[in-house]
């Protein structure tokens, strides 16, 4: 039991330092030293350090952060940093804890990013439900401004950059970066056609080059600047550097956020840190990235798949993705068809309506799954939903179309017996070809 990889608090520093949400405490423990160091460096040097650290986007896509920053054309006079705090993926609740307990590390990281691309302003886009949190964050930003870390003439460098919060109003799609930018501009949160990409002139906020990073990604930056890229790379694996916050929910004894070095195992996360499966039950399935990542079949608590390392590369090997690392655990009592129906209901509600395959596809998937769950499945319903889902893949402007197809395709692939059980139990007689056309 004692051999589990210990948690490591690069982000969740409140576990080691009480009251680190207060600027005084944060500063006493090295807070804003990284920003001071950064403004003493050339912006391009800051980008080089982040590049060398191998930090990858923690929001889900895993794109190398420093590379993203390097896409920004330095010659443009107006540029923006946007922090994605929309956190709406089912099962994800880490950014909230970061902003609540260690807000200055986010503000400092955002200011370092701003310096690196010489940004005009920083916007932190929070989902509307983070109402209380946004108001607390405003006060922390004001504390940082008064101390000279944000606003005019940052630390005497001559660099001016303000940090603003912006509240969304309940739309999952606004976590998608181009929809987020639309929303911030006061439009419907619907994805844009790309190119141009946000980093390019014409593609970002107010058509200016823009870096969009997740809260957790940005919160890693001060540590990297302070300790250097080499130290950061010592944590984790060769391809997956640093720590990752795993949000564990569902059938575990201790649901919660766990910050672990990348490379710890799934077994350590679920059984050591999250306390294992309650009531002596066996594990049946795991969704690694909320509702959107492919579901993984796990045949009980001794399945060797639980020894898979929590890294970007190892999760691809087991047919899924690490994504946002929102781990939803399901025990042997869970009906995976019900899981597919639940996730589909979510995506049907959250489809923004712009692309037909996603808007119509999620509607029909939801309707058909309703019928299956009500005991009125028709014989070809499994084929039907699989077919609808396949026709949503790769044909929409943003990833949501694929996300909404995943729960259908991978649940049927990995748990065919759960679906067949519903067809077998159908209360109605199998429909005739003529009836199917009604």
């Amino acid at each position: 039991m004692g051999d589990a990889m210990a948690s490591m608090n690069i982000i969740f520093r409140e576990k080691d330092v009480p009251n680190i949400h207060e600027i005084g405490t944060y500063r006493k423990h090295g807070g804003y030293d990284a920003l001071r160091k950064a403004v003493g460096m050339k912006p391009s040097e800051v980008i080089d350090v982040v590049k060398a650290s191998n930090l990858r986007g923690r929001g889900g896509a895993g794109f190398p952060t420093g590379v993203k920053w390097s896409f920004i054309p330095q010659s443009e006079p107006r540029k923006y940093v946007v922090v994605n705090a929309d956190e709406s993926e089912t099962g994800t609740f880490k950014d909230r804890q970061i902003m609540e307990n260690n807000p200055h590390q986010l503000i400092e990281g955002a200011m370092i990013a701003a310096w690196a691309i010489q940004a005009t302003a920083v916007y932190i886009y929070l989902r509307g439900e983070f109402w209380d949190l946004a108001h607390m964050l405003d006060e922390h930003i004001e504390d940082a401004r008064k101390a000279g870390f944000v606003g005019d003439n940052v630390l005497g460098s001559g660099f001016n950059c303000m940090v603003y919060t912006h509240l969304g109003a309940g739309a999952y799609i606004c976590g998608e970066e181009s929809a987020l930018l639309e929303s911030l501009e006061g439009k419907l949160g619907q994805p844009r056609v790309r190119p141009p990409f946000p980093a390019q002139k014409g593609g970002g906020l107010y058509a200016e080059p823009t870096v969009v990073n997740n809260v957790e990604t940005i919160a890693n930056v001060p540590w990297i600047i302070t300790n250097g890229a080499d130290e950061y790379k010592k944590i984790g694996t060769e391809q997956s550097s640093g720590t990752k916050i795993f949000c564990v929910s569902g059938h575990v004894e201790k649901p919660g956020n766990y910050e672990l070095p990348l490379g710890a195992t799934l077994r350590e996360l679920i059984y050591e840190h999250a306390g294992g499966i309650p009531n002596g039950k066996q594990i049946k399935a795991m969704l690694p990235s909320g509702g959107s990542g492919p579901i993984v079949r796990i045949n009980g608590n001794d399945d060797p798949i639980l020894d898979t390392k929590l890294t970007y590369e190892d999760f691809v090997k087991i047919g899924t993705i690490l994504g946002s690392a929102s781990v939803i655990v399901m025990d042997e009592t869970t009906d995976i068809t019900w899981v597919a129906a639940k996730i589909t209901r979510f995506f049907k509600h959250e489809s923004c309506g712009k692309c037909t395959p996603c808007r119509e596809g999620t509607y029909w998937l939801d309707k058909t799954l309703d019928r299956i769950m009500a005991g009125n499945a028709r014989e070809n319903d499994i084929d039907l939903i699989a077919n609808v889902a396949r026709n949503m893949q790769g044909v929409t402007l943003c990833a949501l179309g694929d996300f909404a197809a995943n729960p259908i395709i991978h649940t049927i692939q990995n748990f065919p017996e759960d679906f067949k059980a519903h067809i077998g139990n159908t209360a109605n007689a199998p429909v005739t070809a003529a009836a199917a056309g009604d």
């Binding site: 207060e22 089912t90 099962g91 983070f130 108001h135 603003y164 109003a169 309940g170 501009e185 969704l287």
Partner: protein, 175 residues
């Protein structure tokens, strides 16, 4: 009129953005706070402030779920019944709450106090069952805890504001 009554707040909002249109969402929150829900009057006032068509403002209000286009109860209870919460009993909790208050999904109690509806993931999956009341979170609930909360709200004997307003900052833990 929003423009007069909330002048300092509105000015602060406009100062954040290079375009007036970016202020539409924060201003819609103010309109909702003032009129209780998104009214035609509120939409028109926001449109004038942001230099937009009222149709464009109405479409924004309709797109985002936190703007309500119908009047709600004094306490708007939104229960998360998404997958992660449902695995920990949120569907049952949602049903019990509706039964206790005698309302259907989306319904409001006869005294106008409570509206109950389900909502998509609120990023509090480790604290299920949970709900949002007038934009404030209440977590790790069961019906026993819920009955106490409902009683407090009903009697007005609660720190909970009927309107979403700024809460005090995170408290410092005593050493």
């Amino acid at each position: 009129m929003l423009a007069e009554k909330y002048a300092p707040r509105i000015e602060k909002i406009f100062a954040k953005y290079p375009t007036k249109r970016s202020a539409v969402m924060p201003l819609l929150y103010i309109a909702q706070e003032e009129y209780g829900y998104i009214t035609a009057e509120g939409v028109n006032e926001v449109a004038v402030l942001c230099d937009m068509d009222s149709t464009q403002v109405r479409s924004i209000a309709g797109f985002y779920t936190m703007y309500s286009e119908q009047p709600k109860g004094k306490y708007w209870l939104q229960v998360c019944t998404d997958l992660a919460c449902a695995l920990r009993g949120a569907d049952q909790f949602h049903e019990q709450l509706k039964e206790h208050l005698g309302v259907d999904e989306g319904g409001t109690t006869a005294d106008g106090m409570f509206t109950v509806e389900h909502v998509m993931c609120l990023a509090a999956c480790d604290k299920a069952p949970m709900l949002q009341c007038n934009f404030h979170f209440h977590e790790l609930l069961d019906m026993d805890k819920m009955k106490v909360l409902l009683e407090q709200w009903r009697s007005g004997d609660s720190a909970e504001s009927a309107k979403p307003e700024k809460k005090t900052r995170k408290k410092t833990a005593s050493a």
